[in-house]
Symmetry: C2
Subunit: 517 residues, 2 copies
């Protein structure tokens, strides 16, 4: 039964909304057969310095297994699996991410056998333009699906509860003019989240949105929670693509125009959509909340914001404190990840990422995170200062703000395991079938020793295979290429020798990942 529900008719002053309107607003429970299509949109543009040193500029939080073996992005890609059969969930989610993360994003999707459409943002412009590019990508061929937009870097414990909330939101979003968000009834006076003030109640616990409020101070947060009329803003939105685009056009015409133009001039292949750089760079930067959601109640607005309750063990993992909160603890309130020993510790989160033994003795309320090249020790009540710390690290031009010691590349990764005066040692791992660029160095020679798998080596005019326990020498100035022709990862130890060993001493002649330009 298709309802003649029209959000434009809803009284925009929610304070005066009565029970009758309530009935109208929630009467959209039965979606029409022709518009049950859902597209998952994953907003993966975050840079996530708050979980430093595990999260880095070049390999941020969503690409990392913060709370489990899978990365948060991978867990997010799986969140629509098994969704209610009444809905047609597109097999291809749309992921919006930055160029520097696009290879890793694709690789992680492949690992969990998801074939996404990846929209590569030419510049960082916050979530409203990101969702707009995704809406445009999902609307090709006249489709007008319901978008289920969610950040790539949150954790959700109860997927069934999440899906039920999404379904409820999708039913509301079927109605013209309705933009639904998922709000989390608060369990503590958290100052790390934005809050949504509830408007008139709708069916099944949903509410109209009165307004969005920014992260409050502690006292105000406590008032919010005590009042019962504020929910946490989860950053998840459910909206029909055309409704989103219409709302954006009304409230942010400049942003809308820039996105539409950038999309029109996008480069595309099987996986990637890369919107026009010049057009997108002209796009203003803003969040979904500010750019659209807060405008919905304006006089004359034909759009309605509604919030659906989400009680599914949601966490934005927005700080190490939040990570500790989200994890199972032992009887002393400790969380130990990796090679960790606790001796009289309480309420301590300790994580050994680089494999070293981490020992916590008599600590309380502490976060300890060890990686290959950095160790963070933070009082849990001061984790908000990590952002400032990372800025300071960046100012000193230390690499630890940007990269891990292990650096991901389209062909695999390398790890700088040792270095000294005039030498550097790397472990290089090349994925099956992948190959590095044909390259040459002006200042260094390289020794390669294969420790597992098979290498196809190009050295000057020669080409030859090397297998485990074989080695070769690449003199300075000689063109060379390393390739994995096999079906298992290739691992080599590379010993570089020379007066200058920077990553920028590289001349690329040919590269399958387009890095010659």
């Amino acid at each position: 039964m298709r309802m003649d529900f029209n959000a434009r008719e809803i009284e925009v002053n929610k304070q005066t909304m009565n029970v009758e309107q309530h009935a109208v607003a929630t009467a959209v429970a039965e979606p029409a057969a022709d518009c049950r299509r859902l597209v998952q949109v994953i907003l993966a543009g975050g840079s996530g310095t708050r979980l430093w040193p595990v999260s880095r500029e070049q390999y941020p939080k969503q690409l990392i297994g913060v709370v489990g073996d899978q990365s948060l992005l991978q867990a997010t890609m799986k969140r629509m699996d098994g969704f209610a059969k009444a809905w047609d969930v597109a097999a291809e989610p749309v992921i919006v991410c930055g160029a520097e993360h696009s290879f890793a994003t694709r690789e992680q999707a492949q690992q969990c056998e998801v074939k996404p459409r990846i929209v590569v943002e030419p510049a960082r412009r916050d979530t409203a333009p990101a969702l707009t590019l995704a809406a445009l990508a999902a609307s090709t061929d006249g489709d007008d699906p319901i978008l289920v937009a969610m950040p790539a870097d949150h954790a959700i414990a109860d997927i069934a509860a999440l899906q039920a909330a999404i379904e409820q939101a999708a039913q509301l979003a079927q109605a013209e003019g309705v933009i639904a968000t998922l709000g989390v009834p608060p369990t503590r006076a958290d100052t790390g989240f934005g809050y949504i003030r509830l408007g008139a109640p709708l069916k099944n616990g949903a509410h109209q949105i009165d307004r969005f409020v920014e992260k409050p101070a502690a006292e105000l947060a406590a008032e919010y929670v005590a009042s019962g009329s504020y929910w946490w803003n989860s950053g998840m939105f459910v909206v029909r693509a055309s409704v989103w685009l219409d709302a954006l056009k009304r409230f942010q015409p400049e942003m809308h125009a820039a996105c539409v133009e950038a999309h029109a001039n996008a480069k595309r292949d099987d996986v990637y959509i890369t919107p026009g750089v010049d057009e997108f760079e002209r796009c203003p930067s803003d969040s979904i909340d500010y750019a659209v959601m807060e405008q919905l109640g304006k006089e004359g607005s034909p759009f309605t914001g509604v919030v659906v309750p989400l009680e599914a063990g949601w966490s934005d993992l927005g700080s190490w404190d939040a990570v500790w909160e989200a994890m199972d603890k032992d009887e002393f309130g400790n969380v130990a990840n990796g090679r960790v020993m606790m001796e009289g510790a309480t309420a301590t989160y300790a994580r050994s990422e680089g494999g070293r033994l981490v020992a916590c003795v008599g600590t309380n309320g502490l976060v300890v995170v060890e990686t290959d090249d950095a160790v963070l020790v933070a009082d849990r009540s001061h984790v908000q200062n990590i952002k400032g710390l990372v800025s300071r690290i960046r100012q000193t031009k230390s690499p630890e703000a940007e990269n891990h010691r292990k650096v991901r590349r389209p062909w695999g990764f390398y790890d700088s395991i040792d270095n000294g005066d005039r030498f550097q040692v790397k472990r290089i791992v090349v994925s099956p079938g992948a190959r590095l660029s044909l390259q040459m160095h002006h200042h260094r020679a390289e020794h390669w020793i294969v420790v597992s798998g098979t290498a196809l080596v190009t050295r000057g005019e020669e080409q030859f295979l090397l297998t485990e326990n074989q080695s070769t020498f690449i003199p300075l100035g000689v063109r060379h290429r390393l390739e994995n022709p096999g079906h298992v990862p290739l691992q080599i130890i590379e010993v570089q020798s020379g007066a200058y060993l920077g990553e920028d001493d590289i001349v690329r002649f040919d590269d399958q990942y387009g890095r010659c330009n």
Copy 2:
């Protein structure tokens, strides 16, 4: 003027000691010309788990630069430099250490151009037997010097004040029957030290010793400090060799006999004295305090214990808390060693030993110590639990209790920089003129790449030189030897390949350090 002072005549009941006796007891200020010989004895037998992870079983605290660039042992070897000219300080200190530390001890002495006599303890038997072996070593050819015994692992800020205290103690020790110790007037109610209860006052602030008391509880420590009659026990002793041996013979005849026999059957070379193993293993284990000092006041004892005040910024560096106490702090009470960043931290000691960036955010009263293979985070008030932690690590057979990742050898060191399935990568540094044993492995092949210096390689029947940027391959089962014929350190990267890569897969054919037996 040689005094006819005879300690045997001193009333042993110190409670009844009167002013006249006081005058007698301090009348030894002028040593006779023939007995002004001093020998420094350095007790370097500690295993020092309390400063884990910097201090390890195989490379303990005294071998490490805890508070400066020099190791504590090296700083200790320099403490008699510039001693008052009226005394003849032997150029060769006697160092007593365990066999596992004897190479490193010799190497560190060479680095600071000290030629010690090194007494290698065949077994750990605490300080009383150690001092006895040193007394015997210093008494050859009928010499009877005054021994100035000090632990190898303490810090002293004011060397002039130390030397003044030692001179005062040495003047007292000239008298027959007097054993002098240095006591530190306490500056806080520390529960980590033993205390000495002062007896009758002597000249220049010295006192007879009433008794030794063990580490007290906090309340008792406060009483001790408030009373003004207790000093910290510094573990430094000044005593004539013959007096020590006589006292030991009287109070611990079994220990005395075992040490004398072990010394009689010692192996000697230019540097090392290795007492007989079987004899020394029969020796009871005890400290100088318990075995002798606490017995001095016994009825009929001809010996007198005196304590001389030491106010020289002494610290036993007995815990990370003590290390923090001993070091200069910034305005927030922080101490940062190495690559450390503090963000809102207070009263925090942070040390980056392995070179990784260590960041402390909002921490208070914390110790953070990073090494190549382990990270310790401890509340400063719980550092005494580190000992228990290290025992637990040992129980799990993890290497981090015993060794550093960088393992010292007589010829230099190696550092295990990477490892994986069927491979391991080491950086090997060979000292100028040193060579590894002629050896062979059953389970692994090795690639060697020289990154600095020159290597003389023996491989099967061949011998050849390799210099920077050259490499060779040692197949499994082939005899080989690595040698540094040059004048600068040789550094190679070794890539091992094989199914078993344990250190025990080694057959030694020849070794200049006697490791073939």
